[in-house]
Amino acid sequence: MKLKMRSALLKISHTLLRSTILLFLSLFLICKTTAYAEDQTSEYKVKAVYLYNFTKFVSWPDTTLPGNTQTINICVLGKNPFGSLLEPITHMKTQDRTITIEYIEDIRALEKKSCQILFISASEQGVATELLRKTAQMPILTVSDLDGFAQHDGIIAFVVKEGKIRLEINLRAARKAGLTISAKLLEIATVIQ
């Protein structure tokens, strides 16, 4: 009798385990999907939030971002390292404008876009110098995590120091592009003149 009970208990525990798995499966099926993103290291989470902050602490010349402009456009050029981490930023309001995100895989498509912030992905390393030369006089905030980006006339570079994401800002390049960078942002950055 006792043996039968043990056997029955064992069966019940097996059934419970399987049932739990089925329950999880059901949860998956009925659960509404939340924000989708590829599994990223936290590195790009922080960089995504920085991009949002740039829209708050950088001013564009009135000629390119006049008062009646409704959007601030963040463009990601090349292989998208953010996954969907920029989704929470999309449609947020900043400087009374709505943030939009554009993913541009091919540099040739860039000319047709209007970008206020251009994040140049590491996949574009081969064309970065040429790209910076072309955009140098344009009111575009160029941002990248390519090595030596700010030293090569990029405006803001993400660098990893002591496990933290730090900024290098090339003020000369920013002025050339007609952009004004707030002192608050400069306070936490290394300024490259």
Binding site: I21, L27, S121
Partner: protein
């Protein structure tokens, strides 16, 4: 010897919680969602520690230990898609099958068949079988694993028993990660399904639920002939079901995990027609609560871990009657219960003092020999047994100027069976500059004898030894570390001295356990991890073990440790959506077994939320044979299929 009850222990915890002060720590970006970070001040954002590629949030060059950290996702892209494959990529770590089916973890050439000499942690919580010290290598849903951290060398000061050769910490994903479903199909009709659902309700509350289930028709495993044992082939398969749930509420965390797994091999008397199955069943419940008061971080924790095995062989009694071993009451009495508290007091920026106290009970029900036809118990191999243990541990961490960091720590243990003991830890880290460091480390690990080693009593089969003393491994490491951007390189040499090493002797036909003579070993390890131009990821490591594959009267297990292991992994993201990857792991020859080289290839295609993958494993079609290290003889044991494939899909949401 301390004689406190559970009630008095509860009082100690509560009083500790009231009296412990606390500190502020570097915040980790992993712990916040993008939404949460959007509300941060710029200076707080700039102060967040991030995970970059495979290097951890705490810079590995500053950590006073020899640590390897690998992201599961990165290893998967190199064709290493199981926890066992991932662990076998760590420098100097070899995983191989025991004759009866379980997986033995060898680290720095140190191993034992039924008393693992590595400690297995899930999110920092110890998980092992009280009777046999087995570890749940198939018990953690693969989709729940964020990364693995492996300390090579003893980690006893923080973790206590079993952390002699090293510590494996499986770190699970946060609830702020994405949810994912996965399914795969492979050779031998291996079907695997799993997933994780993460949900953050608000800043204070988050939930993760994960599962994995695998069925397997098995591969043809060839056992070469061995004196007294004709060769032959059997079907070898591994199946499992596992679930894991985590709930975070404010500063409290709950973890619940359960699993069942089944593997097979050759049962006693190890003849080719005598196939056994080895079933593991276990669950872990853990709760902790931590906070910061003043300059002190403090934490209270408790966990309950039930874990047992059942072993059934086709011919247990010599007349084709199946039977085997099982625990009374279906393993209900096989548990570990642990509770404790710890506090880290930050005296100043340069000095912190850490202290903790733990109480643990380990218990096992009677280990029975049974007849599978009648279900009758025919003998008791080991009686019901239990022990209790108090531990007190402390560590002083002092930073001198910009360059030096010193550690001094120790653990005092009062065990109801083996008595009192203490182990020290010393360390010095010299930071050459922001990118380089030198470390000199000394630590001692101990392994309390497992219950079977102490109490097994079923002649002529096995005889435990109540006179066994805990074994110790004293290790000195000298390491150079270099870290710049996404590149990490660590080179270290080690020297270890094993004392009272517990081994089994089967020469008389009866399994006896004894403390062996002391022996020394030394070796070197190189470990490189790099992300090149964001598209290439390259991992390479090598471990050299001077005494590997050598015969020594005082070190009888060295012959089964390889002199050298290497691992190379590479993945390349080409075009925005595709990646290819490869990994190669080699183990040099030992005893009668030839060297091994396992090459895996991997291809991934990402289509919005869907990732499709195809993996070819053991592309060189090597016959994977290893010496029978669980029984200390050169008989060759199969440990995996020839060339085989896996195709699957993952849906992220």
């Amino acid at each position: 010897m301390l004689q406190l009850t559970k009630n008095s222990w509860t009082i100690v915890i509560c009083l500790s919680a009231l009296t412990i002060p606390s500190l502020s720590q570097a915040k980790l970006a992993d712990e916040y969602s993008v939404e949460q970070m959007l509300g941060m001040e710029l200076k707080d954002l700039a102060d967040l520690k991030v995970t970059v590629a495979s290097t951890g949030p705490e810079s590995i060059i500053e950590t006073p230990a020899i640590v390897s950290r690998y992201d599961m996702e990165t290893l998967s892209a190199m064709g290493l898609r199981t926890l066992k494959d991932a662990l076998s990529f760590i420098p100097g770590v070899v995983l191989q099958d025991h004759l009866v089916g379980q997986t033995i973890v060898m680290m720095r050439g140190v191993y034992e068949g039924f008393n693992q000499k590595v400690l297995f942690l899930v999110d920092g919580v110890p998980y092992f079988m009280p009777s046999h010290s087995e570890i749940p290598l198939s018990g953690i849903p693969i989709e729940s694993i964020s990364h693995i951290e492996v300390i090579r060398g003893p980690g006893a000061v923080f973790y206590g028993t079993n952390a002699t050769a090293g510590v494996i910490n499986v770190v699970t994903k946060k609830d702020t990660n994405n949810s994912r479903l996965s399914a795969s199909y492979g050779s031998n009709d291996k079907l695997n399904g799993g997933g994780i659902i993460n949900h953050t309700f608000n800043e204070d509350t988050g939930l993760s639920l994960a599962f994995e289930s695998q069925s397997d028709n098995g591969y043809d495993a060839r056992y070469p002939a061995y004196p007294g044992y004709p060769g032959g082939t059997i079907n070898k398969a591994e199946e499992m079901d596992s679930v894991l749930a985590k709930l975070r509420y404010k500063k409290a965390n709950l973890l619940a995990q359960a699993f069942q797994s089944s593997a097979n091999g050759l049962g006693s008397p190890r003849q080719i027609n005598n196939v056994n199955t080895l079933d593991y069943t276990g669950y872990l419940l853990h709760a902790d609560y931590g906070d910061t008061t003043g300059n002190t971080d403090w934490k209270l924790f408790t966990d309950y871990n039930n874990f047992y095995l059942k072993y059934t062989v086709l011919d247990r009694f010599g007349s084709n009657i199946p039977g085997g071993y099982r625990f009374a009451d279906d393993g209900e009495q096989n548990f570990r219960w642990r509770s404790g508290t710890s506090a880290n007091y930050h005296w100043s920026k340069a000095l912190s003092i850490f202290a903790g106290v733990e109480y643990e009970e380990r218990h096992t029900g009677a280990y029975q020999v049974y007849n599978a036809v009648t279900d009758a118990t025919t003998a008791v191999l080991m009686p019901e047994f239990g022990l209790s243990e108090w531990s007190f541990y402390s560590q002083i961490d002092y930073t001198l100027g910009e360059k030096w960091r010193f550690l001094l720590g120790g653990r005092f243990t009062d065990n109801s069976i083996t008595g009192t003991d203490s182990v020290p830890r010393l360390g010095a880290v010299y930071k050459i500059d922001d990118e380089q460091s030198l470390k000199l480390l000394y630590s001692v690990g101990f392994n309390t004898p497992s219950f079977t080693q102490l109490k097994a009593d079923n002649l002529p089969e096995v005889q435990g030894n109540t006179g066994l003393t805990p074994e110790k491994i004293k290790t000195v490491d000298l390491a150079y570390s270099y870290s710049k951007g996404n590149n990490l390189f660590v080179a270290n040499i080690f020297y270890l001295k094993a004392q009272n090493f517990i081994v089994s002797d089967r020469s008389t036909g009866t399994i006896h356990f004894y403390n062996a003579s002391d022996f020394d070993r030394y070796g070197a390890e190189l470990d490189y991890q790099g992300v090149l131009a964001r598209q290439w990821t390259l991992f390479a490591n090598l471990a050299y073990h001077a005494q590997g594959n050598s015969t020594d009267e005082t070190d009888t297990t060295a012959i089964y440790a390889p002199k050298m292991t290497t691992a190379l992994g590479l993945s390349y993201n080409f075009l925005p959506r595709q990646s290819i990857g490869a990994s190669m792991r080699t183990i040099s020859h030992r005893a009668a077994s030839a060297s091994l080289a396992q090459l895996n290839l991997d291809y991934q295609y990402k289509l919005d939320r869907l990732t499709l993958f195809a993996t070819l494993r053991n592309v060189l079609d090597e016959e994977i044979l290893s010496p029978n290290i669980g029984e200390y003889n050169p008989r060759e044991i199969p440990g995996g299929d020839g060339i085989n494939f896996l195709v699957g899909a993952k849906y992220t949401f």
